[in-house]
């Protein structure tokens, strides 16, 4: 299979994630969309790595996965904290860090 298919899929996944972040208001869904974007990046990395023929891209993809896992931990922790304080689970309502 040629490289283009992978790139197209990756772009679609990335665009879906980005749209999700821009359009949805629930923090959980935003987190899911972020994961989607990261994995789109991973897909592109792995695909290019195969095309070039070395393993550096794959290693990098593994690193991204680790970072993504950490990010999920922090993000979910935040969401649990928001929930426990009985704050609305809606990013548009949480505007206290306004400048």
């Amino acid at each position: 299979m040629s490289i283009e298919w992978y790139i197209v899929l990756s772009s679609l996944l990335f665009a879906t994630g980005a749209m999700g972040i821009l359009l949805r208001r629930s923090p959980i869904v935003i987190l899911l969309c972020l994961e989607l974007m990261l994995n789109a990046g991973n897909l592109a990395l792995v695909a290019f790595s195969r095309m070039v023929g070395n393993e550096e891209g794959q290693v990098f993809a593994l690193v991204v996965m680790v970072v993504a896992a950490c990010e999920v931990v922090v993000g979910l922790g935040l969401i649990v904290a928001i929930f426990r304080r009985k704050l609305p689970l809606d990013v548009d309502e949480l505007t206290e860090l306004r400048g």
Binding site: L22, T95, E96, L97, R98
Partner: protein, 669 residues
């Protein structure tokens, strides 16, 4: 052990004393601290004697040794060693400093007995001795400056010793500031020396100076004038003298140690040490000689009018240092140092007697209130008379020989220097008058209230704690001389120290009697063999003629003082009336303080005020406020974007990246 080994020990002992006394002030009773401090300096004196003996064991021409512990600093091809230089001059200074200091420590042991800050006092005192020894032993200009600055600090600390007294802290600051002016002169001189000669080391500098500098060249004259600024500030010569009388606010042993015997002679030492440079710069040497002459005359006239016992003696110190500065500047190196030694004896003694009398007067220093102490304090009075006789150069006392050895050298050098000798004799006449004015007003007559109290009850008079300078009530904590005083009659350490000094004041001159013996000059002269001026020697006949003139002048001065203040005591008041402008000039110290206030302090304050009102408020504050405003304004604009809506941020981010990607696409295609 070699002479340098002993010299290192001399340096080390007072430092150890200072540190150990300072650190043990909680653990050790006051008397032990005093004993340790005194013993440290006493041991240093013994080591100095050992260094002298070791030096005498060498051949007369090779009595100079340099010794280095380690390299102190290294930069730009310049190496500065932690090194000392031991020769006849530094050994002589070492002996005078440690010898007199030991006695003054002993005196302080009794005098400061009931002071709250006993540990602090002895720690400072030892530190001072260490600094002074560093100054005289230093083997290069950097270490000299270090010692020079340490001495200035020690002097500040000791003058301000009673730190609750505002007059004392003010006097300390004044002394420190004027000393720092001198330090700047010295530092600049050292800078010029290293620029021209490439070294700080005494041996190198003095060896290369005659090759590099031409006789009377500009650079060497500038170096010497800058050295003189340092010397004048430390030695209280006009116009840097105003700190010395004020420094009398410190405890009397401090006046005795710093302001009579050791510190103020640092300038004399400096000129003697750098005699090679001064020979190359005759203009600077002549200026120094004239300033010395002017100081000795002006200070003499001021001393006649002062009514404060210690201040009068302080002006006398200035005057005597004037002799020394004049001596070492015209080439009478050994004679100047001889006077330095005898002066250390009799002036330290005079201050000690003054301290004893002031204690009996419950801290009053005004001689108008004093009389009749001959009946009340016999021992102190005898010491006072001995010190006074030596100061007035009474025949066969130490001051008689040392003062005249300077003046007969000036006469032998001839030309205008002979006129300086005439000025010196006028100064000697003034010296005899003011010294015996003090003696005749304090000792004879009907005992004053305080003296009467001492005679009747055998106890000291206790007045209310009042600062005699301002009549303010004293802080009775540690800020004043203390409620309990000590006089020589009741305290053996004080009496012992005074007795030894009195012996020196009477007989120290006998080591250098023209035509009879030549102990001191024989020892010191080889140290100055580089200077052709040291070749000039007045003939024995001329010296004895000078001595005879000195004797006549001294006796005449004493007789005049007797006539004015004992036989016809109404005359001085008459003179005060008739010669009112002259009297006011002398009483107000020739208005030097006022002139300095007007010429230096006021303009400096005006510049400071200008800097504060215009430069600081407008320029500096303008820059600061402008920066603040710019940052704040820019922040205000950017703040609009920070809406707090996460999705807006995400949109901006994505739009930004999309824009960047587009840009690169356009550029690439």
């Amino acid at each position: 052990m070699s002479s340098t080994g002993w010299a290192w020990l001399v340096l080390l002992l007072p430092l150890l004393g200072s540190v150990s006394v300072a650190l043990s002030f909680r653990a050790v009773p006051a008397r032990v601290a005093g004993a340790v401090g005194t013993a440290a300096v006493g041991a240093a004196f013994l080591c100095a004697v050992a260094a002298l003996l070791s030096l005498l064991g060498d051949d007369a021409d090779s009595r100079h040794h340099a010794s280095t512990l380690w390299t102190y600093a290294q930069a730009g091809g310049l190496e500065i060693d932690l090194g000392i230089y031991v020769d006849q001059l530094s050994v002589f200074m070492m002996l005078v400093v440690t010898g007199v200091s030991t006695l003054i420590h002993l005196y302080s042991f009794g005098y400061m007995k009931s002071d709250e800050g006993y540990h602090r006092f002895f720690s400072y005192l030892n530190f001072f001795v260490f600094s002074m020894l560093l100054l005289v032993l230093a083997g290069n200009f950097v270490l000299l400056i270090v010692g020079w600055a340490f001495v200035g600090f020690a002097s500040y600390a000791l003058i301000s010793f009673w730190y609750r007294r505002t007059t004392a802290t003010g006097a300390g600051m004044k002394a420190f500031v004027i000393n720092v002016v001198g330090d700047i002169g010295l530092v600049l001189a050292a800078f010029l020396i290293v620029r021209e000669l490439g070294s700080f080391d005494y041996e190198t500098v003095f060896a290369k100076a005659p090759e590099v500098f031409s006789q009377g060249g500009w650079t060497v004259t500038a170096i010497c004038l800058l050295l003189l600024v340092g010397a004048f500030a430390k030695s209280a010569q006009i116009p840097f003298h105003t700190w010395l009388p004020d420094a009398m606010e410190g405890p009397t042993p401090v006046s005795s140690l710093i302001h009579a015997a050791t510190m103020v002679t640092a300038g004399v030492y400096l000129i003697a040490r750098t005699n090679v440079l001064f020979y190359l710069a005759p203009t600077a040497a002549d200026i120094a000689a004239f300033v010395g002459l002017a100081t000795l005359l002006i200070a003499g006239t001021i001393a006649i009018a002062q009514t404060d016992l210690k201040r009068a003696i302080a002006y006398s110190t200035m005057s005597q240092i004037g002799y020394m500065i004049m001596g070492v500047s015209i080439g009478a190196y050994s004679a100047g140092l001889f006077h330095l030694m005898t002066h250390a004896f009799f002036k330290a003694l005079l201050f000690m007697t003054a301290g004893s009398i002031i204690s009996a007067m419950a801290n009053r220093q005004d001689i108008d209130r004093m009389s009749g102490f001959w009946k009340a304090m016999r021992f102190t009075s005898i010491m006072f008379v001995i010190g006074g006789l030596a100061l007035a150069a009474f025949p066969l006392t130490s001051g008689f020989f040392s003062k005249d050895s300077i003046l007969s050298f000036a006469e032998a050098r001839g030309g205008m220097y002979a006129w300086m000798a005439v000025g010196g004799y006028v100064g000697a006449f003034l010296t005899a008058i003011y010294t015996f004015r003090l003696i005749f007003r304090v000792l004879p007559g009907r005992p004053c209230e305080e003296a009467q109290h001492l005679i009747e009850s055998g106890e000291l008079y206790h007045g209310p704690p009042i600062n005699p300078a301002t009549e303010e009530e004293e802080d009775t904590d540690v800020g004043f001389p203390g409620a309990h005083h000590h006089i020589a009659e009741q305290s053996w350490p004080m009496a012992a120290a005074m007795a030894v000094l009195a012996f020196g004041a009477l007989f120290a001159g006998l080591i250098q009697v023209p035509g009879v013996d030549n102990v001191l000059f024989g020892f010191l002269d080889p140290a100055f063999h580089d200077s052709p001026l040291a070749e000039i020697h007045p003939s024995v006949g001329a010296e004895w003629r000078g001595l005879a003139i000195g004797a006549v002048i001294s006796v005449l001065g004493i007789a005049l003082a007797w006539f004015l203040w004992v036989a016809r005591p109404e005359l001085p008041a008459l003179f005060r009336e008739r010669l009112r402008p002259v009297y006011l000039l002398c009483l107000n110290k020739w208005y030097f303080d006022e002139a300095i206030e007007l010429l230096i302090v006021r303009p400096a304050l005006a510049i400071g005020r200008f800097a504060n009102d215009v430069f600081e408020r407008r320029v500096v504050d303008g820059i600061v406020d402008g920066t603040k405003g710019a940052v704040g304004g820019a922040g205000g604009i950017v703040r609009v974007v920070q809406s707090g809506f996460v999705r807006t941020y995400a949109l901006l981010l994505i739009a930004g990246f999309a824009g960047l990607a587009l840009y690169f696409l356009v550029v690439a295609s």
